[in-house]
Symmetry: C2
Subunit: 218 residues, 2 copies
């Protein structure tokens, strides 16, 4: 089994390689707030364990094994977040730091039980998919709210930014996953949207925010 430290490297590698498929030592170093020489060292150790492909001066790539192990930690993280929100009554802005710790608990039974009690959820409280027990996860093709047109009706599916402040901002506006939103108009100037949802009418949402909300059209 891997140390808590290795697990956090795995998660970081996984998160950062989302787009390019590979990560620079520099990016990883910044993301983890750990100096580059330490990262280089750890990459060599993890290469020896067959978790990452490492060649001097080349970008880092998770191996198949590394990718799976990372996904399984993320699975524990997201199941935990979902459990905390759905079964314990936490707000979606409160759960990340707790999950950051609980994801390292070694107990297949605990997470199997969470999953069962949640009735095999596919998404976490932020709308992000939960990997299955084999580390596989499906990304549904959601659209950014910012790309929607006036007149469209959409349903809140996921948030891109999961910072405390952003989630609390959404709480104050009563915006949550599953919420049905109708786009009334879009300011041509700054792309601010005027929307309607629940008992909020003519509410404006800045482009910055719209860029961070994923919706499903229906």
């Amino acid at each position: 089994m891997h140390s808590l430290v290795e697990e956090n490297y795995l998660k970081a590698l996984f998160a950062l390689s989302k787009d390019k498929g590979s990560v620079s030592v520099n990016d990883l170093s910044k993301h983890l707030d750990i100096k580059m020489p330490t990262v280089t060292n750890m990459m060599k150790k993890m290469a020896f364990k067959n978790l990452v492909h490492y060649q001097s001066y080349k970008p880092l790539k998770l191996t198949k094994k590394g990718k799976k192990e990372a996904a399984l930690i993320i699975r524990k993280h997201r199941l935990t977040e979902m459990y905390l929100v759905e079964k314990m009554g936490f707000g979606w802005e409160e759960v990340h730091n707790i999950a950051e710790q609980i994801e390292h608990i070694k107990s297949p039974k605990l997470f199997a039980k969470m999953e069962e009690l949640l009735d095999y959820p596919k998404f976490d409280p932020h709308g992000t998919p939960i990997p299955d027990i084999n580390g596989e996860m499906e990304w549904k093709a959601f659209s950014k709210l910012s790309e929607c047109k006036p007149g469209e009706r959409v349903k809140m599916a996921a948030v891109i930014n999961t910072s405390d402040e952003f989630l609390k901002f959404l709480n104050r506006r009563e915006i949550h996953l599953g919420l049905k939103i109708r786009i009334e108009s879009v300011e041509p100037f700054d792309n601010t949207m005027v929307v309607k949802y629940k008992n909020h009418s003519g509410e404006t949402i800045s482009h910055t925010v719209c860029e961070r909300l994923l919706v499903e059209k229906f």
Copy 2:
């Protein structure tokens, strides 16, 4: 805050000093399965942090601070065990190892929520008291089943041994906390008890087992 390692030393010190009030380096070493020199070293570090009174060649004693911190970890352990049993459906024989890990989670909110959802429980699933938020805990004066007399009616209040095997043994006999037991007779030879409970009549319980069951008379 203390490291996971220090927390486990605190817990061990607390558990071992139950009776005498102090612990030998040797006992602590055996209990933690850590060699004596390592323990001596750690005791010096913890003395510096004012968690333990340490003098060369003298028995170890937790300070007031150390005792409180230990109790607060034990509080997290027992709240977790209770939560796992009551809210997640685990058996009382399954929860110790999970709690051993979760007790180290740094999140006052998580444990406050558990406590609230459990409606401020006073005992864990093994009948052991849960320290309050100030680290205080009350031991109710239960009797050993082995000390009870024929004809008495008692209620299962706690188990002294919490090993997997013992708890599974009790499961097979359908013996659980809260169970009402009537003592029919006691074999004068080996002190085996013949008892009656629920739909079990004339069931025998060995002295060894009776010594490990705490009951409340009523």
